[in-house]
Structures are given as C-alpha cells and as structure tokens.
C-alpha cells in the first residue's frame, strides 16, 4: 500500500515539475512550486525522514513561496520570451539524462539494507547514540554533536546569505533605474480590509509560534530542532505580516532584534564550541560542559540548537523584511 502511494506521489511530483517549467505565468509557477514542496515533504515522510519533512514543509511550502512572491512583486509576473535555443537545450538535457539514467542501473535497489551507504558510519551513530548522548532522536544527535562542525558551517552559510540579502536590498534605489515596478499607489502588503483571512490568520499565529517553540525544545525527543523551529517561527511572523501588515510585525519584532538574533545565534554556537576548549577539551566537544559526559552532551546540544534556531529565525525574517520593505519604497 505504501509502495503504491509512494509511486503515486512521485508521479505527481514529476507532473507538477513539468507544469512549473511549462507555464509562462510566474505567479502560477511559484504556486505550483509550493505544491511541489508539500508533495516532496510527504514523500520524505514516507521515506522515514520526519525531520526533513517538517523542514521542507515549513521552508519550501511556506517561506520560499512568500519570498518568490515578494520578488515577483518587485519584478514582473510574466515571462516575456519563454525559451531560447529550445532544441539545443533539449539535446543537452537529454544526453545528460541518458548518462545519469545509465548510472542508476548500478545503484542498489530501493530500501536494500546492504547498500554501501548503510555500511559506513551510520550504524555506528545508531549504536552509540544511546551510550554517548542518550537522546532518542539520532538525527538531532548527529546534527548537533557528531557532526557539529558541519552544522556550524551551515549556520554560517545561512548567516552569510542573510547578510548578503541585506546588503543587496538595503541599497537606496537609484533615480536612474528605468521603470519602478511597483505600480504607484499599490497598498503595502497586508489584508487588513479582508475580515476572514485576518481573523483566521490572527487565530493561527499564536499556535504556529507555540508549535515552533515545541519543535525547538522537543527536538531531542521527536522530530524537530533549531532549523525546523526557526523556519516555523519565521513562518508564523510572516503570516502575521501578511494579515496585519509589515509595519505591525516590525513593531512587534524590530529589525534590530532580528539582527541581534542572527548574530547572537551564530555567536552562541561558536561560544559553545570555545567553551569546550576553555574547559580543557577540543572545539565543539560538549562532554566537558556538564557533570558527566552524557549530560554535557545534552546541554551542548540544547545550547547549539537554540543558537541555530535564533540564527535561522533572524535570517529568514530579515530576508522577508528586506523584500517587503523594498516593495513599499
């Protein structure tokens, strides 16, 4: 039954992707991209990746759609000229497809437990997480502790991208720029004059934020953690901005706080790493942080997950506000 459902979902994915590329209306493409994300999140879920599904649903279907729409509002909603060099591109893509398809025949069958990918470090993580860290969610254990360096790197990439967007979009609009795109007199975002979306949206926001905090602090026990929580909390604030207007969101959570969250999260992560050195071990070794190595690991993971959550929330919201305020200017 699950197999049939999986195949059905995968086929839907292909159809959606083809429709996204075919349509000339970018607004339709972005909406379909949101559906695509939701479908792929369900796929991740039936492939046992609950954490990834949660992230994809919050980021792909929620935040990415809003950011694309923000960019569309600042540019244009239609492709003027669909495709150039169609046959050349098709032949390049087709030959690349043949090469990759040929390679798939060497791949181990789907779900094969003896596939090479399951023989390397993964069994070690599964066996030793209870002894070293003693938290139920192995994904969080690997993310926070065993692979702490990788995650630190990812947090800095997110941070850098956020800084980049702020730099790009905080430049004052040049007077010589041809064609201000936002039609004059377009009201700022916000559905203040529409009663039903506004009431429903206001009702939902507290629960989304509460769920975000739950996901943040329950990440050691169930699917969750800083990345998912950051995306969820950011999505909650973005929903508030969509129904109540961007200014009110900025009043609730000012820009300076967002910057503090961005920087503070990354610094907190780094500081936890340095604390390991100060207490006489190596960078990002949490064992020395607590009374015994296991509780030290747990404290370390909670702290770095908090740092990740802060940075992700701050960056995503700062990016959103950068696009939204560009539209107002």
């Amino acid at each position: 039954m699950t197999v049939v459902f999986g195949i059905f979902l995968l086929t839907l994915l292909v159809i959606t992707a083809a429709a996204i590329v075919r349509t000339q209306n970018l607004f339709v493409a972005v909406m379909l991209l949101g559906i695509f994300s939701l479908l792929i999140a369900v796929n991740f879920f039936i492939l046992d990746a609950a954490d990834v599904a949660l992230t994809e649903a919050a980021v792909g279907a929620g935040i990415s759609t809003v950011l694309f729409l923000g960019a569309l509002a600042l540019t244009s909603e239609r492709e003027r000229l669909g495709t150039r060099h169609r046959w050349l591109s098709l032949s390049v893509v087709a030959s690349a497809a043949l090469v990759v398809l040929y390679a798939t025949f060497d791949k181990p069958r789907f779900g094969d437990p003896s596939a090479p990918v399951h023989q390397h470090v993964a069994p070690w993580y599964l066996e030793n997480t209870p002894a070293y860290i003693d938290i139920p969610n192995v994904v969080t254990a690997v993310l926070g502790s065993f692979r702490g360096y990788d995650t630190l790197g990812e947090v800095f990439v997110v941070f850098t991208a956020g800084i980049g967007v702020l730099f790009l979009l905080s430049v004052r609009r040049g007077g010589a720029a041809p064609g201000g795109t936002g039609a004059p007199g377009t009201p700022g975002i916000g559905l203040r004059e529409h009663v039903i979306p506004r009431v429903v949206g206001r009702l939902l926001v507290p629960f989304i934020l509460l769920f975000g905090l739950y996901v943040q602090f329950h990440g050691e026990y169930g699917p969750g953690g800083g990345f998912q929580a950051g995306a969820l909390i950011a999505a909650g604030f973005i929903l508030y901005a969509l129904v109540e207007g961007e200014e009110r969101t900025l009043a609730a959570l000012p820009q300076s706080w967002l910057l503090a969250l961005m920087v503070g999260g990354a610094l907190l992560y780094g500081a936890v790493g340095l604390a390991g050195i100060v207490l006489g071990s190596t960078f990002l070794d949490y064992s020395v942080l607590g009374a015994n190595p296991v509780s030290g690991q747990q404290i370390g993971i909670i702290l770095i997950e908090a740092g990740v959550g802060m940075t992700v929330t701050g960056v995503l919201l700062a990016i959103f506000h950068a696009f939204a305020s560009r539209g107002r200017a």
Binding site: I20, V21, D51, R80, A97, T104, G111, P113, V139
Partner: protein, 117 residues
C-alpha cells in the same frame, strides 16, 4: 519488482533534468532560479531515498521496540541543506531584484543587449 526498485532513482533523474532544462533553456531569471530549486529538490530526494531501509522506521528511539532504522546521516545533511538552500535562493532573488532595478528587465537576452550597447 526488480525494476520497481529503481523507480525512485528514475524520478530523481527526471526531476533533475526538468530543473536543468529550466536553467539552460529559460531566459527569465526568476524561472532559472525556480529551475535551480527543482534541481536542488531532486538531489534532496536522491539522498533521502538512499537513506531508506526496508521495514525501517524514522531514526528515533521511541521505546516501541523498533530495531530497524533508516539511515540518519543523509537526513541530517538534507535537513541543513534545505535551510541553506532557501537562504541562497533568497540571495539569488535579491540579485534578480537589483538587476531589474538597474536594467529594467529580468530577461537574459535583453540584459545582454543593454550591456553590449
């Protein structure tokens, strides 16, 4: 049934190539970014597919006696990659918005014409 075991990989190839086609053939910069997102999603799907183990469950010890778990490592990599992906996509969108402001167009060939003038 033997070939069914490869279906996931074929879907991966098709999605990857749809994204690739959008990047090379489409002239509109936002469409190209959408293509990159599709390409990226295909790679995510490949990783998660490889991590799946028959009869396994999510790698969370919930005390219900499950002994077979899917591979947690690809999940960790993709979990962080999704958030990094949206950040870099946002950076790309930021660049597109600035391009539109400077050139008045987000169609690649028009931008090239303006540059050659």
């Amino acid at each position: 049934m033997e070939l069914l075991g490869l279906y996931h990989y074929w879907v991966f190839v098709v999605l990857l190539m749809i994204g690739f086609y959008a990047v090379v053939a489409k002239v509109n910069l936002i469409k190209k970014l959408i293509g990159i997102s599709l390409f990226q999603a295909a790679v995510f799907l490949l990783y998660i597919t490889m991590g799946k183990v028959d009869g396994g469950t999510a790698p969370i010890f919930s005390g219900d006696g499950a002994t077979v778990f899917s591979n947690p490592l690809p999940q960790v990599l993709i979990l962080t990659a999704i958030v990094v992906g949206i950040s870099t996509t946002a950076l790309g969108l930021g660049i597109v918005v600035r391009v539109k402001e400077e050139y008045g167009s987000i169609e690649e060939h028009e931008i090239q014409e303006i540059d050659e003038r």
